[in-house]
């Protein structure tokens, strides 16, 4: 049916799938735009249907990805772990095919099409375990957020459209392989969120929305600066040589009077491709740490287990190293600044202390479903950015500064927990608990110990990724818990609740699961990530490790005191509250069940398909250190 539109060489099924995954919510937003306003209830169902469709496509992608992992098997490695299935390998393959005009692979879950050729911007999407985990989380949380939005009445159409566009933006950001495309999606998210807080929020919504935008923009500026400076890097030795030669021909055509040297000097290849740039970053790390003899080309016959093949096949190794050294990217200052800019960009989203001030305001003012998305999904972009871009692109600076990054994480953990303990507003308490929990993500990523003990770092990174997932589920659930009680009490003052366990037993039971999951109780999802991060952190630095372990006492403290104030005791004011409605149970029960599943069988449920990607990530980076 689609055949007439696609010439055989471009018939690529996964392109359809991934594009659909990203833009399906936006398509439904478009339908909503023209939906007759008479069918008001239909709007909600339509939006929900869109989110459900996206979730379904995401699940199909999970199945596809699993099949992709399974398609290669090797006697020496565990199944699902074949190096050829890793994202960087597939991305290289796709680049190669683009350069040589060969047909695209339909089953590699990589999409690459030129978008803005003048600036070498590609429409590049790709799936691996890391992004897929967060894509699934996004689809899931948005779906539940839409169920939670059933009570929204004012300007319903606009609200639903904005949420769906937001989802498209987030999904696009998680799937982008191209930095420019990532930036576009990253900014696309900003405006829906601004309006969702600013129009549907509480009393100080305008203040909160503007604060959110300013903080995020400051981060974005750092990101944009980093991306632009990365674009200035000449990557001709890292891309397929066909691309480099094409560039040379292009320059020759433009300046026919130039000699070869002039042409070669001018024929710089620039890219926004994150995988290529991360190769540059790794090469820089080797050069800066005096290990340039390990750098080789990918097709070199002399490759040993010790060598790091980063240059493209057919490149002259010595010339390439000399060329790399002559660029400013290969200076410590440039690396430090680049890393700092990327950290700034993503740190606002994580958020780290002291850039967290926007979060409590945004949460307190945002309506419940928006808080769910904010805590459940948007914060993860920060962690994802660190994992996908900051660390691989600037490994040298990341390694040099890893202790400070870890310290930032620990400060977030302890400070967030302490401030949370001093809150009287239920939502604000949860907002600060997010700061605390996301600190484990930063800490886990930072545990870059020596190359020989890389398995501990691997625990840290796995833990960080899992912590993002589990925090996404528990925080979305907990914000909904607050929403449920806010609908009944119309306030969020912890000191005025109490005694909810008796009138609302189901609600209390489900909340208990989410509370204890957030507290890191074994058997529930919060424990898995935190425990892994703690093991890694101790091995990295006893000081950071100990602090992160002692912080569990504070976490238990603020959550238990909140639990006592909200659910226990006797309170005549709350004694007549009705228990959860069917709609509310539809949100809470699946989330509670998920926390249990992820806590009991994290290996089967998550790690079996995320861990191969993390292993690849670790193997790329940890071998850079002797």
């Amino acid at each position: 049916m689609l055949a007439p539109f696609f010439p055989p060489a471009e018939r690529e099924l996964d392109m359809l799938q991934l594009t659909l995954l990203v833009f399906l919510p936006a398509i439904f937003a478009l339908i909503l735009l023209v939906w007759p306003s008479r069918f008001r209830e239909g709007m909600r169902w339509l939006a929900l249907f869109g989110a459900a469709g996206t979730l379904a496509v995401a699940l199909c992608t999970l199945v596809d990805y699993h099949r992709l992992l399974d398609s290669q098997s090797d006697r020496d490695t565990r199944s699902l772990y074949h190096p050829d299935t890793r994202l960087d390998h597939r991305a290289d393959e796709a680049l190669e095919r683009t350069a040589t005009n060969r047909s695209f692979l339909s089953d590699d879950l990589i999409v690459r099409r030129p978008w803005v050729s003048k600036f070498d911007v590609d429409y590049a999407l790709g799936v691996d375990g890391i992004s897929l985990a967060l894509v699934l989380l996004t689809a899931l949380v948005t779906f539940f957020a839409l169920i939670a939005s059933w009570k929204i009445e004012t300007n319903l159409r606009g609200y639903l459209i904005l949420i769906l566009i937001l989802e498209s933006g987030v999904l696009g950001a998680f799937l982008s392989l191209d930095l420019f495309l990532f930036y576009v999606f990253y900014e696309v998210m900003l405006m829906p969120m601004f309006f969702l807080i600013g129009l549907w929020g509480g009393q100080r919504r305008k203040y909160a929305a503007i604060k959110f935008v300013i903080y995020t923009l400051v981060g974005s500026v750092g990101l944009l600066a980093a991306i632009i400076s990365l674009y200035t890097v000449d990557v001709r030795d890292f891309v397929p040589q066909e691309t480099a030669r094409a560039k040379v021909r292009q320059v020759q055509r433009a300046h026919q009077d130039w000699n070869t040297e002039q042409v070669n000097a001018q024929a710089e290849v620039h890219t926004f491709d994150a995988q290529t740039l991360s190769k540059v970053g790794q090469a820089v790390m080797l050069v800066l740490s005096g290990q340039e003899d390990r750098l080789t080309t990918r097709d070199s016959k002399a490759n040993t287990p010790n060598s790091v093949p980063l240059f493209a096949p057919g490149v002259n190794r010595e010339a390439a190293i000399a060329h790399l050294k002559s660029q400013s990217i290969c200076t410590p200052t440039h690396q430090y600044i680049l890393f700092a800019l990327l950290i700034l960009g993503f740190a606002v989203k994580v958020p780290i202390v002291p850039l967290h001030s926007w979060l409590p305001d945004a949460h307190v003012e945002a309506p419940t479903p928006i808080s769910m998305i904010l805590a459940g999904v948007l914060l993860k972009l920060g962690g994802y950015g660190l994992l996908r871009f900051a660390f691989p692109i600037c490994p040298w600076a990341a390694d040099q500064l890893s202790w400070y990054v870890g310290l930032i994480g620990v400060i977030g953990i302890v400070y967030g927990a302490l401030v949370a303990m001093g809150q009287t507003d239920f939502k604000r308490l949860l907002a600060y608990s997010s700061v605390s929990h996301m600190g484990y993500v930063v800490l886990g990523l930072a545990c870059w110990s020596s190359g020989t003990k890389s398995e501990y770092w691997q625990w840290g990174v796995n833990g960080a990724l899992f912590q993002m997932l589990s925090h996404g589920i528990t925080s979305a659930g907990l914000f909904f818990v607050v929403g449920v009680i806010y609908d009944r009490a119309h306030h969020r003052d912890l000191d005025r609740f109490g005694g909810l366990k008796e009138p609302m037993p189901v609600y209390s039971g489900l909340s208990a699961i989410l509370f204890f999951a957030s507290m890191g109780l074994p058997g529930l999802c919060g424990f898995v990530g935190e425990f892994q991060v703690m093991l890694a952190a101790w091995n990295y630095c006893w000081f950071l490790g100990t602090l992160s372990m002692l912080a569990t006492i504070l976490t238990a403290g603020y959550l238990l005191w909140a639990w006592q104030r909200v659910f226990l005791g006797v309170n005549p004011l709350t004694a007549k509250y009705p228990d959860v409605s069917a709609r509310e149970a539809t949100v809470l029960i699946p989330l509670a069940i998920l926390t249990v599943i992820l806590g009991v069988i994290p290996g089967l449920a998550v790690f079996q398909w995320t861990e191969p990607s993390v292993t690849g990530w670790i193997e790329n980076l940890s071998k850079l250190k002797p």
């Binding site: 935008v213 600066a225 400076s229 600044i337 002291p354 401030v419 001093g422 003990k453 006592q564 292993t615």
Partner: protein, 711 residues
């Protein structure tokens, strides 16, 4: 495919099944409770919902839940008895094939695995598994056995909870009965505790450790309408978290140094002498971390304050969790991790146990609440076990753990029977003469009192005698540690005194409060039978032949087979001395017990004191040596103050106005930029443009900086 019922090849899997059995009622009860409560809130309007509600018992609490839980736990008990017998048999038949024996009785597998390698490398897996030895087998049978008795006992004790509405006289409110919920928590506890016992690695122990903690939290706070109960629950959980942090540190050290958390492997690598992988300091720290976990769970000083408060929970809970099983898990873990400890850690364990033993026993002397006396007695007895472990008397300490479980469960259930019979009266000063009203309770409790006081031929005598002789050996081998013998000796006397005081005050003499006495009644048979069975256990569980030889205890012999072999010279020397002075130590202990009991008789038994003679206790002991007050002031208030300070330093609020806050500083920075923008443009055309301008300016600035610096 993994077949959990393959008992012929892997008899150890019986324990696995027995562990998982109590989870079934948990899931059933959770499911039923959710449906029932969802239906309840709709039953007024929706006929289908009301039919469902009726199907699940209507307003009546889930009574079948109790029976179900009991049946499944009895199933576990049956399996564990079969396992115990099988284990003993195979311990002989497979004596010469240790390898096969190990594969039959232990298995392990990955819970999480990282890395590409197919072969097992260090630090790439978190494992789960079970490992059965004499200690596990005996503990498992004890927990399921005593657990079943207490489950049955609770049928009677928690009868009030089966009614539609229950009056809570303390919180002055009426509420629905919570019978099903009680058994839900109990069954979950049983699963977690059994999981902790069969675990072969620290990670799995930690999982069970935290889960029993959370069950204890819910059960202490069972009457959550009462502020005292919910605060006690919080206290228990938080204090335990401090201990758990120690356990986390210990696990991190073990994992970072050895790459495994399997206790057998760790024991093989360390085995009582300093391993090469670890510096001496870290070795000590690891041991101290492990022990801190045990201190928290077993309520040793300095983390002992939660246990007396935990008596806010229903009495069967106090008997099961806070006397017989969960609090003993600390001693169990210390015994399990025996080969991992450095000599300095053993010394710490011994003295920590000593101090706890004496301090708690001294407080128990003056308490007037029947459950508090028993709670402090539990602390004290656990201290005695810790001391035994610290001086190398592994078998004696764990034997005391097993015998103590019987007589302390008996005493608590007896106390529960008294409280139940006297309509929630817990004050000893209001009782007296109750033996005439509740003879079964009175005389079974007397057996418990005799057992805990270490009277000959009762189970407590065998274990206490062994501990005392080991302590004597330890202090004789090094006179610096003379206190390690004098302490337990004094405690033996104190224990006999306060236990007989309890019994005389409650059961002997004349009634001090007529209304209590007149309304008192003997408990139903569902409560009496467990008392009788436990009383029989308290007498004979440690017997051996010849009966008068404390060393001949069969239980002790079986435990001894599991004792880890330690290469610790001080211990072996002490052990020889202990053998030598065995009779002296035993005699002294008996003398101390008799003296204590006699003094209690002369003060409370011969002439029953009147109510006026028993005033409110005051002073250091009644204040529990001021531990609670100091902790409250330093840690609780301190943390809360710190939290408030942090909150107000983060941002100012109407309640906490403050000039300089982190939020304010960031906003100030923003407004500075804003003012700069104003100054640059001198015009104001709306906010969005401003931000775009700021954005562009900053971007230009950053890029400029980059290009200058990077050259």
């Amino acid at each position: 495919m993994f077949n959990p019922f393959d008992f012929a090849e892997h008899p150890g899997r019986a324990y696995l099944v027995a562990t998982l059995l109590p989870l079934i009622p948990v899931l059933l009860l959770l499911f039923a409770a959710t449906i029932r409560n969802m239906a309840r809130s709709r039953s007024g309007t929706d006929s289908f919902a009301s039919r469902i509600y009726w199907l699940f018992g209507g307003d009546q609490p889930l009574k079948t839940g109790g029976t179900l839980s009991i049946l499944f736990l009895l199933g576990s008990f049956g399996l564990s008895v079969w396992g115990l017998l099988q284990f003993h048999e195979e311990a002989h038949t497979y004596h010469d094939f240790p390898q096969e024996f190990a594969t039959r009785w232990s298995e392990r597998g990955d819970w999480l695995r990282i890395g590409t390698s197919k072969t097992i490398r260090p630090a790439t897996a978190l494992e789960i598994g079970y490992h059965i030895d004499q200690l596990t087998a005996l503990m498992f049978t004890m927990v399921t056995g005593i657990g079943s008795l207490i489950f049955i006992y609770s049928l009677g004790y928690m009868k009030r909870e089966t009614e539609d509405t229950v009056d809570d006289h303390v919180a002055h409110t009426t509420r629905r009965g919570r019978f099903g919920r009680f058994y839900l928590y109990l069954s979950l506890f049983a699963f977690s505790m059994l999981n902790l016992l069969i675990a072969d690695n620290l990670f799995q122990i930690f999982v069970g450790w935290e889960l029993v903690g959370v069950c204890s939290f819910f059960l202490i706070g069972f009457y959550y309408e009462r502020k005292s109960a919910s605060s006690a629950a919080n206290k228990a959980f938080l204090v335990n978290r401090v201990g758990d942090a120690g356990l986390l540190i210990a696990m991190a050290i073990a994992f970072a140094s050895f790459g495994t958390l399997n206790i057998q492997e760790l024991g093989g690598r360390i085995g009582g002498s300093q391993p090469v992988e670890l510096s001496h300091g870290l070795w000590i720290l690891m041991g101290l971390g492990l022990f801190l976990g045990c201190v928290g769970k077993s309520a040793q000083i300095p983390l002992q304050t939660w246990l007396p408060d935990a008596m806010e929970g229903p009495t069967p809970v106090s008997a099961l969790i806070h006397a017989a099983t969960m609090v003993a898990a600390g001693v169990y873990l210390a015994g399990r991790c025996y080969p991992l400890f450095a000599p300095e850690v053993f010394l710490t364990i011994a003295y920590c146990g000593l101090i706890t033993m004496l301090v708690s026993a001294s407080i128990a002397l003056v308490m007037t609440d029947i459950k508090r006396v028993l709670a402090f007695s539990t602390c004290s007895q656990l201290g005695m076990m810790m001391l035994a472990l610290g001086i190398g008397a592994w078998t004696a300490g764990l034997l005391h753990l097993l015998t103590h479980a019987f007589f302390k469960a008996l005493l608590f259930l007896g106390a529960g029977s008294v409280i139940h019979g006297c309509h929630e009266e817990q004050d000893l000063r209001q009782m007296g003469g109750l033996r005439r009203k509740m003879p079964v309770t009175a005389y079974t409790m007397l057996i418990g009192v005799l057992a805990i006081s270490g009277m000959p031929f009762f189970s407590g005598w065998y274990s206490k005698d062994q501990i005392l002789s080991a302590a004597m050996g330890a202090s004789l081998s090094n006179h610096l540690h003379a206190l390690l013998f004098l302490g337990p000796l004094l405690t033996a006397g104190l224990t006999a005194f306060y236990m007989f005081r309890l019994w005389f005050l409650a059961f002997a003499g004349e009634p001090r409060n007529r209304t209590v006495y007149n309304h008192a009644r003997e408990s139903p048979w569902s409560m009496k039978w467990p008392l009788i069975i436990l009383a029989l256990g308290s007498i004979g569980v440690a017997w051996g032949w010849p009966l008068w030889d404390a060393e001949a205890s069969y239980l002790g012999h079986h435990l001894h087979e599991a004792e880890p072999i330690l290469n610790h010279p001080a211990f072996s020397h002490a052990h020889i001395l202990a053998e030598e002075y065995h009779v002296v130590a035993g005699g002294l202990a008996l003398l101390a017990g008799v003296l204590g009991a006699g003094y209690a008789w002369s003060r409370y038994g011969r002439h029953a004191p009147t109510a006026a003679q028993l005033q409110e206790p005051r002073g250091l002991l009644a204040k529990r040596w001021y531990f609670d007050d100091v902790y409250d002031f330093v840690f609780l208030r301190g943390t809360q103050k710190l939290a408030e300070q942090a909150a107000s330093a983060d941002r100012s609020s109407p309640e906490r106005p403050r000039r300089f806050t982190l939020d304010g500083a960031m906003s100030g920075l923003a407004s500075l930029v804003q003012r700069g923008g104003h100054a640059l443009r001198r015009t104001q055309t709306g906010q969005v443009r401003q931000y775009v301008l700021v954005l562009v300016l900053t971007l230009i600035g950053l890029l400029g900086m980059l290009s200058v610096l990077a050259r």
